[in-house]
C-alpha cells in the first residue's frame, strides 16, 4: 500500500523528471559538437611538425584526461573569474574534456592509415591537400566514427555530473523527486531507464558501423 502510494506519486512526477531531459540532451549535443571541433584541432597539433603545437596538445590532453571531470566542472564554474551561468560553465567544461579524449581518437585514426596510401596518392599526381581530401580523410572518418560514437555515449552519461553546479538535468530531477516522496529507488531507476533509451541504440549503432567498416578494409 505504502509502495503503491509512492508509485502513483512518482507517476505524477514523471513529467517533472522529463524536464531534465532537454538539458541532458542539449549539453551532450553542444559539448559533443564543440568537442569534436577542438579535438580535431588538437589531433592535428599533436601530429604537426611544430614542436610548440605538439607540446601544447600533449599538455592539454594530459591535464584534461588526468583530472576528474567533476573537478573540471567545479573549477570552471566556481574558481575561474568568468562570471557565466551554470549552463555555459557546463558546456565549457564538458567540451574541453571531451576534446581531450576525441583528440586521441582522431590522432590514432589518422595515424592508422598506412603510409602507402599517401605515397600512392602522391604517385598518381595528387598534391598534399588532394591526397588528404580524397584518400586519407575519407578513410580516417570511417575508422573514427565508431569510437567517436562511444565517446558521445560517455559524454551523455557524464552530463549527470553537472548537477553539482545546480543544473537540473535528469539525475538532479530524480533526486528532487526522491527527496519529496521519500522514495529514491523508483525515480533513480526511471532516470537510469531514460539514459538507456539513448545509450543502448547509440552503442549498437557504433558496433554495427565498426563491423561494417572492418569488412570494407
Amino acid at each position: 500500500m505504502h509502495l503503491w502510494h509512492n508509485f502513483s506519486a512518482i507517476w505524477r512526477s514523471v513529467p517533472f523528471l522529463l524536464k531534465g531531459l532537454p538539458i541532458t540532451l542539449s549539453l551532450t549535443g553542444l559539448s559533443g559538437l564543440i568537442g569534436v571541433g577542438i579535438g580535431l584541432i588538437l589531433a592535428l597539433m599533436k601530429i604537426s611538425k611544430n614542436k610548440l603545437f605538439r607540446w601544447f596538445a600533449l599538455v592539454y590532453i594530459d591535464l584534461f584526461r588526468g583530472t576528474p571531470l567533476l573537478l573540471q566542472i567545479m573549477i570552471v564554474y566556481y574558481a575561474l573569474p568568468l562570471n557565466i551561468d551554470a549552463f555555459s560553465a557546463a558546456i565549457i567544461a564538458l567540451s574541453l574534456n571531451a576534446a581531450a579524449y576525441l583528440a586521441e581518437i582522431f590522432r590514432a585514426g589518422i595515424e592508422s592509415i598506412s603510409k602507402g596510401q599517401m605515397e600512392a596518392a602522391l604517385s598518381v599526381g595528387m598534391n598534399y591537400s588532394q591526397a588528404m581530401r580524397y584518400i586519407i580523410i575519407p578513410q580516417t572518418i570511417r575508422r573514427i566514427i565508431p569510437p567517436t560514437t562511444n565517446e558521445i555515449v560517455a559524454l551523455l552519461k557524464d552530463t549527470s555530473l553537472v548537477m553539482v553546479i545546480g543544473l537540473a538535468e535528469i539525475v538532479y530531477k530524480a533526486k528532487q523527486i526522491g527527496s519529496a516522496t521519500a522514495n529514491f529507488l523508483t525515480p533513480l531507476m526511471f532516470a537510469a531507464i531514460l539514459y538507456l533509451i539513448f545509450t543502448i541504440p547509440l552503442t549498437r549503432y557504433a558496433e554495427k558501423l565498426e563491423r561494417r567498416f572492418s569488412r570494407g578494409d
Binding site: S114, G116, Q117, E119, A120, A121, L122, S123, V124, G125, M126, N127, Q130, Y134, I135, P138, Q139, R142, R215, G216, D217
Partner: protein, 241 residues
C-alpha cells in the same frame, strides 16, 4: 628521360645508397636486381620524389628536379606500382583508376570511365570494376594498381618489387601484364627478384649491392658472365638461373 648524378640517400646516419649515376632513355626497359637492403626500392622511390634524396641530382627530361619543383606535375608523368599495391580501400576498382584522372586532370567522369575501362580490360579485369580491393586477390589488386598508374598516361613506369608480396600462383599474371606493357614500348624501371622476367624483358640490367651500382650489363651477359665478385656471390645464392 631520367638521369641521376651522384644520387645519395641516408636515413639519419644510415646509408641507403651512395653516388648512384643512372640514366634511362625513352623506350628502354631497365631491371634492377640485387640483395635485400641494397637500396633498390629507395632508389626508384627517389626518382619520383616519393622519397627525397639526401644529395645529388635527379634530371627529368633534362630539367633538374628538387623539392621545390612542381612535383605533382612530374609525378603525373611517372607511374608507380608498389610492392604492397596500396590500392585505395574505400574506392571500387573502377574508382581507384578514375580518381586521379578526375581530380588531378579534371577529366569528366564519363571520359575517365572510358579510359579506366580501356586499361582495366587491358589488365584483364573488366569484370571486377565494382569490386572493392578487399574483395580481390593479390594478383588482381596489383593489376588494378597497374591500371591505376597507366590511366594517367605516364611516360615512364616504376615497378617496386611488384610481385614480392604475392602468392606464388599469382606472380605470373602480374609479370605477364608487365611484359605486355614492355613489348608495347613502355619505358620502365623494374626492381625485381624474378630472374627469368629480367632475362625476358630487360634491355639492360643493373645490379645493386652494398649501397652502389656494382654492375651494369645486358641480362644475358650479366647472368652468363658476371664481371664482379659481388655479382658472382649473389648469383651463386640464387637457384634456377
Amino acid at each position: 628521360m631520367i638521369k641521376t648524378v651522384n644520387l645519395t640517400k641516408k636515413f639519419g646516419d644510415l646509408l641507403v645508397f651512395e653516388d648512384v649515376n643512372f640514366k634511362i632513355e625513352k623506350g628502354e626497359r631497365v631491371v634492377i636486381i640485387g640483395p635485400s637492403g641494397a637500396g633498390k626500392s629507395t632508389f626508384i622511390r627517389c626518382l619520383n620524389f616519393i622519397e627525397f634524396p639526401t644529395s645529388g641530382d635527379v634530371y627529368f627530361d633534362g630539367k633538374k628536379i628538387d623539392e621545390n619543383s612542381n612535383l605533382p606535375a612530374i609525378r603525373q608523368r611517372i607511374g608507380m606500382v608498389f610492392q604492397h599495391f596500396n590500392l585505395f580501400p574505400h574506392l571500387t576498382a573502377l574508382q581507384n583508376v578514375t580518381i586521379a584522372p578526375i581530380k588531378v586532370k579534371r577529366m569528366s567522369e564519363k571520359e575517365a570511365n572510358e579510359i579506366a575501362m580501356y586499361y582495366l580490360s587491358k589488365v584483364g579485369l573488366a569484370d571486377r570494376i565494382n569490386h572493392y580491393p578487399s574483395q580481390l586477390s593479390g594478383g588482381e589488386k596489383q593489376r588494378i594498381a597497374i591500371a591505376r598508374a597507366l590511366a594517367m598516361k605516364p611516360d615512364l613506369m616504376l615497378f617496386d618489387e611488384p610481385t614480392s608480396a604475392l602468392d606464388v600462383e599469382m606472380v605470373k599474371e602480374v609479370l605477364d601484364t608487365i611484359e605486355k606493357l614492355a613489348f608495347e614500348g613502355m619505358t620502365m624501371i623494374v626492381v625485381t627478384h624474378e630472374i627469368s622476367f629480367a632475362k625476358e624483358v630487360a634491355d639492360r640490367l643493373i645490379f645493386m649491392a652494398d649501397h652502389h651500382i656494382v654492375e651494369e650489363n645486358t641480362p644475358s651477359e650479366f647472368f652468363a658472365h658476371p664481371r664482379t665478385e659481388r655479382a658472382k656471390k649473389f648469383l651463386n645464392k640464387i637457384v634456377n638461373i
